[in-house]
Assembly symmetry: C2
Homo-oligomer: 214 residues x 2
């Protein structure tokens, strides 16, 4: 009985630790889109989560460690709200649309207060060097690759015409959602999101292989 209690206390302490770590990282991912990853104030972060600054350091030995864990947590959130829901699409063309709309939707509902976490991180870190930059730019590259894979699949399925260069098409589609993100955050208006939706619909209408279908 006593050993059982000790065990359950240990387990509870561990899950408290996991919960606190998660709370710190959720807050850090939000704050980073407003203040930057370098601008993250450990004092303010600790205060927001309701722990001491030394309590924060018990979870993350250094600011870089915190930044890396924050990028990882933001990646989990992005996967959860944008990438994974699109995985259920019936084909490549619908997955492409779902990824782009998922991106615009996560900006619109304010998953992060400063818009896309990775656009924000990339703009901040693009001229720096180090593991935090590499990790954040890796996620941006994965995003581009997911879009390109959807285009290629749509071509294999005969839904997007063959003579379209997937890299070029994805550059254009990605450009719309990225500018929409930047303008939405700067203006607070939904107009840029609507412009991106219209641009995507027009661009895809021009490459969808309707004419070739019987």
């Amino acid at each position: 009985m006593s050993s059982k209690t000790t065990h359950s206390r240990r387990r509870s302490a561990r899950s408290d630790g996991i919960r606190t770590r998660r709370a710190i990282l959720d807050e850090a991912a939000s704050l980073a889109t407003v203040e930057g990853l370098d601008g993250l104030s450990l004092a303010r972060l600790a205060e927001r989560v309701g722990i001491s600054k030394s309590g924060l350091f018990a979870h993350f030995g250094s600011k870089e460690e915190l930044q890396l864990a924050t990028v990882e947590r933001a990646t989990e959130i992005f996967d959860e709200v944008v990438v994974r829901p699109a995985a259920g699409a019936p084909d490549g063309l619908e997955r492409l649309r779902a990824l782009l709309e998922g991106f615009l939707g996560h900006v619109e509902v304010g998953v992060f207060p400063g818009g896309c976490f990775f656009a924000s991180a990339a703009a901040e870190l693009d001229t720096r060097s180090g593991p935090v930059r590499e990790l954040a730019l890796g996620v941006v590259a994965d995003w581009t690759e997911a879009l390109e894979a959807a285009v290629r699949e749509a071509q294999d399925e005969g839904r997007i015409v063959r003579d379209v260069d997937p890299v070029q098409l994805v550059f254009e589609l990605d450009a719309y959602v990225m500018l929409a993100n930047a303008q939405f955050v700067a203006s607070g208006s939904n107009d840029p999101l609507e412009r991106a939706r219209r641009a995507i619909a027009d661009r895809l209408a021009a490459v969808v292989a309707v004419a070739r279908r019987p």
Copy 2:
């Protein structure tokens, strides 16, 4: 004679002051695209220009004053290398092309080490408030308006079809050059600039009123 010497010394001291101020702002505009406007280190800036930190404060009473003057200097540079050369274009369509190519060119040659000064400043300041943000976002709005004015002129001149919405078209064209800027800075590769050039050419080809000409 003595009064003349004093006068010319005063004038020379004043023009030294102007030169130093200009040197500070050129350096600040470059540094800000790498370290951010908030990240501008006054100590490093003074060191780079070769003056003391108190010498720097003799020119700018506060960091905000320095930031505002830096945005103004970056605006002058942007006007000089991107906007003004396009003003000589023979018509609206050519001015539109010249503005977009001027933008890509100033990124390509590295006028600022961190790419477009205003994309960098907007990404940093979009979630803040205050006069520096307002000034920087005002320049971005001027840029968009210059592109829209060129499209409208091209429509009046019969070079771009009437049924195109200038705001929507400019959103798409601007999206290409903005993503090219971000990817060029992150990767150091010219490929994104070439993709933007191709996207602009294709998008304009679809709206240029060739068929309606005799």
